[in-house]
């Protein structure tokens, strides 16, 4: 008996503890989902209800695994709910109510996200170059604000789309503008996760660079093309698959982008540039591997989900459409990368270069295909 007890106490687990706040968090999530099912269930099909229900354990587990997520999700939900309350069901109030116009309406929130991404990048660079803990910490705080503003903006945008018309409303992951916001939010969160796991803020300068580039594109796209305007969904996109296919894909893209930037940091550090200001080569190598692993796993899922959706919308799960083919090329690229590392035991500069060049392939699959090649998957066209 005594031994058994002591054994239980002695159990060393990598998993974090499940505390009262985790329980509370799970309950809030469940209550939110229950309310949504009750109030809007009749507008959703069975799959959408299933996705909603599955989101609860997934988000609860993620919050349990990575504690800051709980505060993050609750805060974003709370701000989004404030925005919904302020709207009172009228879109024009976005221009009339101060708080909406300057803080929580979707476009404004996305502008805040853009601004804080730039500020965060600058802070990380200052922190790294000046070896200033204050600036590094500021970088982290700003990155959190950016992710929060972006995620809130997406939630509010979702609501706004329903204010245009119930037949127009849809989750904001349907065109290039919306997925760029998604990319920014996901990549920032992913970076923050690794920052806390490896207890170093010194990769921020590099990773936030690629996020800044994405935001730069987003702003250009919005200001010069009015891309931010919510558009109704064409028939092919009206499917529950969109809710899972697109986010899964962007976890992949975000992770690949991050691995490329860490790869760049690795290459510089290994050449003696910024070496003392960057984490050890071992850490960079490990983060790069982790990012590619998670990216590859989700990209696999996303491509399969895409195939399942294609089977339903276009009549076949694979037809060598340019987007599909380039997804395969990206997949093959990282599959080879992983083989080289895991089976061949390759390490170091070659893999870092490979991850960096991989970003070009990924970017072409993400953007280039939409810009230069014509095919079925042209929703994200410029």
């Amino acid at each position: 008996m005594e031994i058994a007890q002591k054994t239980l106490l002695a159990k060393t687990s990598r998993l974090p503890a499940f505390g009262p706040f985790d329980v509370l968090f799970a309950l809030i999530l469940a209550a939110g989902a229950a309310y949504a099912l009750h109030a809007f269930g009749e507008y959703m099909d069975i799959y959408e209800r299933a996705i909603l229900v599955c989101t609860v354990p997934a988000a609860a587990a993620f919050g349990w695994y990575w504690k800051p997520m709980r505060v993050f999700l609750l805060a974003c939900a709370a701000v989004a709910l404030i925005a919904v309350g302020l709207y009172q069901g009228q879109l024009v109030r976005a221009d009339e109510v101060f708080l909406l116009k300057y803080f929580v309406s979707s476009q404004t929130a996305i502008m805040w996200m853009s601004a804080t991404v730039f500020l965060s990048t600058a802070a990380y660079w200052l922190g790294m170059l000046a070896r200033s803990t204050f600036f590094e910490r500021s970088g982290t705080v700003l990155a959190w604000i950016a992710a929060g503003a972006g995620f809130t903006g997406m939630l509010v945008r979702w609501y706004e789309s329903y204010l245009i018309g119930t037949d127009v409303g849809h989750i904001p992951v349907s065109n290039l503008y919306e997925v760029f916001v998604l990319f920014t939010v996901l990549t920032t969160l992913m970076y923050l996760f690794y920052e806390s796991r490896y207890a170093t803020r010194r990769m921020g300068a590099f990773v936030m660079l690629v996020i800044s580039a994405a935001v730069g594109f987003l702003l250009w796209y919005s200001f010069s093309r009015d891309a931010h305007e919510i558009q109704p969904l064409i028939p092919a996109l009206q499917s529950y698959w969109m809710k899972i296919h697109v986010p899964a894909n962007f976890i992949g893209y975000g992770a690949f982008a991050m691995s490329a930037m860490v790869g760049a940091a690795y290459l510089l550090a290994s050449k003696g540039i910024l070496t003392s200001r960057l984490p050890s080569l071992q850490v960079l190598d490990d983060v790069m591997y982790r990012a590619i692993s998670i990216g590859f796993a989700f990209f696999t899922i996303a491509t399969i989900l895409g195939a399942l959706w294609a089977a339903e919308a276009w009549g076949t799960y694979w037809q060598w459409d340019p987007k599909e083919t380039w997804a395969l090329i990206v997949w093959l690229n990282y599959a080879t990368w992983l083989h080289m590392r895991l089976t061949k035991g390759l390490r170091g500069a070659v893999l870092a270069w490979w991850a960096l060049i991989g970003l070009l392939v990924t970017t072409f699959a993400f953007l280039g295909v939409n810009m230069y090649l014509s095919g079925l998957h042209s929703y994200g066209s410029l």
């Binding site: 109704p232 591997y289 799960y317 083919t325």
Partner: protein
């Protein structure tokens, strides 16, 4: 391998090294690279287009070369399939090669490991316990079990080695993922067009070229039976019609696939958002089983296919299914047709168009027309009941902060003014002359407003890759094109234009009290000008000026001629009214504008390239749906493979195999060592945790603990 199987047949050196090569990692990686590059080719060149497009694109020299390489359908060429086959082979052999050692590894605990080899581990630590051997072993056992390790013990010489491990599933991930690739490839090959190609090679199937007018006349060599297990084809059904075959496009020709049921289209629906974007495509169909004769109704929509008797029907596209169009034929040949009287009435009252000028046309059918002594065929290709177009887009002019301000707020509002407008029904047709040359036309049913004036739009292009150029016919006060045609006729018909010139000169004489000989000269000038104009419009006049007038005077002459043209056009209109029994009208600004527009339009009409203008009077729309019919037996394999692939990838990347060895020596010393298949940064941390916990658990003195670094 430590123990090569003795029963293995002796293989030749060459076979053995071939096996080594095919199952090797470098071969697999080379294949992945080649596959990626080959796939890129297919995305750079648009696949499966009609061969003529490629011929136009590459010219007669490169076209057959690229065709030979299969660049127009890369993904079904022999060489591409060969790459896939090699990938299958390589993956398969890789599995075969690794199966035995891996399975062995999954089962093995390595409890025979020697102390010296444990000491050589990267992660290794030592301690000493005062507990008796029994208790120490029991506690270690309990600790390992509680931490999810499976353990095998090996007592030797009074020592005890506990070989524990967890995460052996990581190895299973390898089998799952690589086996999944094979499943997916095999499933994909079943659903691709390889089976069809094989049947064509073996079964004397021949593709059809050109249009098929009667499905029942198609010979069995070009038909595939109901029993065909895998196909993908299109089913075209107009409203109120039925179909029981799907058309398979093969090698720039086609084959017919019999379906086990009859699909009848009751109604096709297209809904639009207010912005003009399509919102819903849906076909209300009735499916009748060919065997049982039973039928049922169903609505097939995009993203909502129907599966019946193993065949899945998808909403793929839609077309016009043979709309019936009632057209008024307006001749553009001067002196013809317009002679018929009894013209015109209120706007929209087309019943007054004389019967002789009305024709009935059906979309997707051809209509013979004889004009100006020539034979023409009008091939009607499309009809659209409405066209929503962006008629004006005003970009924002704000700058700086004001610009930013515009981008705040909801995502619903537009920062630029965009006006969408439904410009009404339109139809398209090709007009083919006796020599086979065709031009394409698009005509809109209702007049369109531009700058406060109204025009009937008639578009023309000489080839499909050009944009339409539009003839804008100004409509008269009744909203019809009749005045313009009458005016045009009076302006271009040799007999009438003589009268027009005379009246023009007489009018000028009265207004400006010219001498009779000046009036005579003016009439001659007007005659000449009109004659020139009737050849090629303003182009002829311009050419005439360039040829005969010195540079310095050209502008003066041009404006004088323009004045003559405008004056005569007015007279032509009045003459036309008189001939139709209508009273002359007073010139107002609006009417003068009408005359100017008419003149420009008459000049443009010289390049219209058709002897007639077809005006849509009324229509009866018939839509057709295009369904895709597929039978894909490989789908379950591919889906199973996909599931296994995801499981395998996660198992390989996230399940970590760990082996923890605890050697309890008879003298109370403890030796711990950890090995893992993925030497990540956290392995050391993990080991430290186990070490501290277990040592603590065994009340071990922190004697000599090696800190491996």
């Amino acid at each position: 391998m430590k123990n090569p199987a003795p029963a293995r047949r002796p293989r030749s050196q060459a076979a053995s090294s071939l096996y080594e090569l095919l199952s090797s990692m470098r071969f697999a990686i080379a294949l992945l690279t080649v596959l990626a590059i080959a796939s890129v080719i297919g995305t750079l060149l648009q696949q499966n287009q009609p061969f003529n497009n490629y011929l136009n694109q590459f010219g007669p020299f490169w076209f057959p070369m690229f065709q030979m390489l299969g660049l127009y359908n890369v993904y079904s060429t022999g060489w591409f399939l060969a790459i896939l086959a090699f990938l299958l082979l390589s993956t398969g052999l890789c599995i075969v090669r690794h199966a035995r050692p891996m399975l062995h590894d999954m089962r093995a605990f390595r409890e025979t490991a020697r102390e010296t080899s444990l000491r050589a581990f990267h992660l290794c630590a030592e301690g000493r316990t005062s507990l008796d051997a029994e208790t120490a072993a029991a506690r270690t056992r309990a600790y390992l079990a509680a931490n999810g390790f499976r353990t095998r013990e090996n007592p030797r010489d009074g020592d005890l080695l506990l070989a524990a491990k967890q995460g052996s599933w990581s190895r299973a991930g390898y089998f799952l993922a690589h086996g999944a690739i094979i499943l997916i490839c095999v499933g994909g090959l079943l659903d691709g067009n390889l089976p069809l190609k094989l049947r064509m090679a073996l079964g004397n199937k021949q593709v059809l070229h050109g249009e098929v007018s009667d499905v029942s006349q198609v010979p069995p060599t070009s038909r595939l039976g109901e029993g065909n297990a895998t196909f993908r084809g299109n089913v075209f059904i107009p409203e109120g019609k039925s179909a029981s075959v799907a058309v398979l496009n093969v090698d720039d020709g086609m084959l017919l696939q019999d379906l086990p049921f009859i699909v009848s289209l009751d109604k096709f629906h297209v809904d639009f958002y207010p912005t003009g974007q399509p919102k819903r495509f849906a076909s209300d169909v009735i499916i009748t089983d060919r065997d049982s004769g039973k039928s049922f109704r169903h609505t097939i929509e995009v993203n909502k296919p129907l599966t019946y008797r193993g065949v899945t029907l998808y909403q793929a596209s839609f077309e016009d299914g043979g709309s019936r169009l009632r057209l008024a034929v307006h001749s553009l040949v001067p002196g013809e047709a317009q002679e018929e009287g009894g013209r015109h009435a209120d706007h929209g009252d087309h019943a007054s168009v004389p019967e002789s000028r009305l024709v009935e046309a059906v979309v997707n059918e051809a209509l013979p027309l004889a004009y100006d002594g020539q034979q023409y065929t009008a091939e009607f290709t499309d009809f659209r009941p409405f066209n929503v177009e962006t008629v004006g887009q005003q970009a924002s002019t704000a700058t700086g902060l004001a610009r930013l301000q515009q981008h705040l707020g909801s995502g619903a509002k537009s920062r630029s003014e965009r006006t969408m407008k439904n410009v009404g029904p339109s139809f398209t047709y090709r007009l083919r002359d006796a020599s086979g040359q065709a031009r394409e036309y698009i005509n809109y049913m209702v007049p369109t407003e531009q700058d406060g004036r109204w025009y009937a739009l008639a578009g023309m292009r000489e080839s499909p890759d050009q944009p339409f150029r539009f003839l804008r016919i100004p409509t008269d006060e009744a909203g019809t094109v009749d005045a313009w045609f009458a005016l045009r006729n009076a302006l271009l018909d040799p007999k009438l234009r003589a009268e027009v010139a005379r009246r023009y000169a007489r009018g000028a004489q009265q207004r400006e009290s010219l001498r009779p000989d000046s009036a005579q000269r003016l009439e001659e000038t007007a005659q000449r000008t009109l004659q020139l104009f009737s050849e090629q419009g303003f182009d002829s006049l311009g050419g005439f000026i360039e040829k005969t007038v010195p540079q310095a005077d050209r502008e003066n002459v041009a404006s004088a001629l323009l004045k003559v043209m405008e004056g005569t056009t007015w007279e032509a209109w009045m003459l036309a009214r008189e001939r139709a029994g209508e009273k002359p009208v007073e010139p107002t600004a609006q009417r003068i504008q009408f005359v100017r527009d008419s003149l420009a339009s008459v000049s443009d009409s010289m390049h219209y390239g058709s002897p007639v203008y077809l005006q849509l009077v009324s229509f009866e729309q018939v839509q057709a749906t295009v369904l895709q019919a597929t039978r894909s037996p490989g789908k379950p394999l591919v889906y199973l493979g996909s599931l296994l692939l995801v499981m395998g990838v996660f198992a390989m990347l996230y399940v970590r195999e760990r082996r923890l060895f605890v050697l309890l020596k008879a003298d109370g010393r403890i030796l711990m060592a950890l090995s893992t298949n993925r030497q990540g940064l956290d392995a050391g941390e993990q080991f430290a945790r186990h070490r501290d916990a277990l040592m603590n658990h065994l009340d071990a003195t922190a004697a000599q603990r090696d800190e491996p670094q």
